[in-house]
Symmetry: C2
Subunit: 150 residues, 2 copies
């Protein structure tokens, strides 16, 4: 049996402004930009959603592995922040459009020692699929462009 899974999503643009809707299976999320970046603020923006995906992935890894790793995890939360130079998005060819750095601070409520907690945090960081995708990059392919006349 193959261990490769293919996950899917679709994005469509919404009427007006910069808002779009992305969906995967039966779940949806509205994305937009804040007014300061030209949008109408109907949802978080895509780079904020990336931080949400990274934190969410770390939270799920924490929940999935705590018992197995001998950590009695009573609570867990993560604060994330990422720096991005907006000149890249605005067309400056000398500035990358993406994140330059993402930092995360993990909080655990547990009886585990600080050393055990730190080791578990490193395990979470390294096992998280979203973290690996961002830290080590992914092969991205524009597979097709389909043009339809109005």
């Amino acid at each position: 049996m193959s261990t490769m899974e293919t996950f899917k999503a679709t994005t469509k643009i919404l009427e007006g402004g910069l808002s779009v809707e992305s969906s995967s299976r039966n779940f949806k999320v509205i994305l937009d930009e804040p007014k300061s970046l030209g949008g109408t603020d109907k949802g978080m923006n895509p780079v904020e959603l990336v931080l949400c995906a990274l934190g969410g992935c770390q939270g799920i890894v924490a929940k999935a592995y705590a018992k197995h790793k001998g950590i009695d995890l009573k609570d867990f939360w993560v604060e994330l922040e990422g720096d991005l130079d907006v000149r890249g998005f605005k067309g400056d060819p000398n500035v990358r459009p993406g994140f330059q750095e993402i930092r995360f601070k993990m909080h655990m409520k547990t009886d585990a020692s600080p050393e055990q907690a730190k080791e578990f945090a490193k395990f979470i960081e390294n096992t998280c699929p979203v973290g690996d995708s961002l830290a080590n990059g992914v092969s991205l392919k524009l597979s097709d462009v389909v043009v339809e006349k109005p």
Copy 2:
């Protein structure tokens, strides 16, 4: 004036199962895993959310730049898919936990020629901050682990 912006998010775990909640500013998203991956399916999973962020980012770039690039864009949508070998997440040290490849197919409703549409698609691909973050990687830093006794 600095052109560097710092975006933020927070994730907290929810009661039971693998579900977590990520938020950025006043927006929230619930993440979970499908039953086939051990969750209770209350939301999309983090790697699906990454695909949603990538497609959303491409949609916002398309909307933001179409007029500027001379494209009369009547509609735009993207289908995305990403391959991930679940052995990585399950602990196999020889398999990366993250995506191995992400493909996307852009659809445009426009009077533009196929060549113009293709050129615009490449522009979207290269200007999208989420795409750049994934394609070229980001420096990720576990800045702190804070332990609180129950």
